[in-house]
Amino acid sequence: MRAAWDGSRVTGVEIASRRPRVANRLLAGRTVDEAVAMVPRLFSLCGRSQAVAAALACEAAAGQVHDARILSEREGAVRSEAVQEVLRRMLLDWPRLAGMAPDAAALGDARRALTGDAVRAIVKARIVGAGSDWAVLDDAASGDRWLEAAATPVAALIRRSAAERPALAASEVALLPADGEAVARAIGVALAADAAFERAPSWRGAPAETGALARMRMQPWVAAVAARSGRSALARLAARGAELGAQVRPDAPPRARVAGAVPIAPGAGLGWVETARGLLVHAVEIAAGTVRRYRIVAPTEWNFHPRGALAAGLAGVAAAGEGELRRLVHLAVESLDPCVAYRVEVSQA
């Protein structure tokens, strides 16, 4: 990505993706079974979520109805993968952004435990903080008190963002509705009408943001942070922290669905999954047991759209020096958690 900077403000942002669009090239022409088996091998960060989306899409296209137990098992796999992904960010990347040491040992423990009490204990000790109760983020006032006092790197990064630049990367870009099924249906219509929709997806004609802030916008503390700072990097970091707590606490509230299938037509179907980074949709067209067309609309495509949340949020950001500018851009990018490596270029106008 390239930020044009006039010495005091960002005057323009260009985001160019060099990712190969592999899904259709690798999967078209294969049998459905081959395609479903290949998908998790192709994607490193969210292989299980990708596998679930692929299976649901292919089943929807074939007109198969899956029972509630299988869907529930798949949702469990999606949820535990999402927790691991968030932990990787919060234990390795967020400490660096906060000027603290990464905690690979805790992450290794969490990866070996995968789920359950051991992961809960790691989140409690390393993210929430040993001295804080799980309910600390339940309302705006106690969330703010947690932020003032907690010693974890996650709290430190959010606190620093709030103190230094609370409205960093705030944009007017809409949040994608938290109803994955409804959004997936609309995406199905859009994919049919627009052959390149997945490269720059839109919601009601405009870019939209997906991810933790979109899902957690109604949570009282997240809503309070967003009311003060806008749909900003700070609000996204807060939403990710609050969401992780809600996912692993022992008295977890009833959970929203995180995966589903949408039949489109005979031979065509969608699978949707709410991943750590946002809504992931796989769309498949099948004829005679063979994949004819395969498209993936991934969270990064929404959030790093050329006019999406990152590009809009960075326009106009004030920075007195190039070092400060780079630091702010990295924080804004990390708040949206891209699933690919990225490079920041600064061009001085």
Binding site: R19, R41, F43, L45
Partner: protein, 73 residues
């Protein structure tokens, strides 16, 4: 989406660091998250950390898939 391109562990140093070979480019990464990885293993790397160790047959199949792909238009 991040592609899972397998890379070869070329040399394991004492401690957690290792040199990997990604299509001819050598880099240092941390094996802290996959301490069981040995020289000759294939791993998936993300931002300086190996995050998963692969069955060698699977890794070679995946590499063959990517090798058969034309560059993106």
């Amino acid at each position: 989406m991040c592609l899972a391109v397998p890379v070869l562990v070329v040399k394991r140093h004492d401690g957690e660091d290792a040199i990997i070979d990604a299509g001819g480019v050598r880099k240092q990464v941390s094996l802290a998250l996959v301490p069981e990885a040995r020289e000759g293993d294939y791993v998936i790397v993300h931002v300086g950390y190996a995050i998963g160790r692969l069955d060698p047959d699977e890794a070679l199949k995946t590499l063959a898939l990517f090798a058969g792909m034309e560059p993106a238009a």
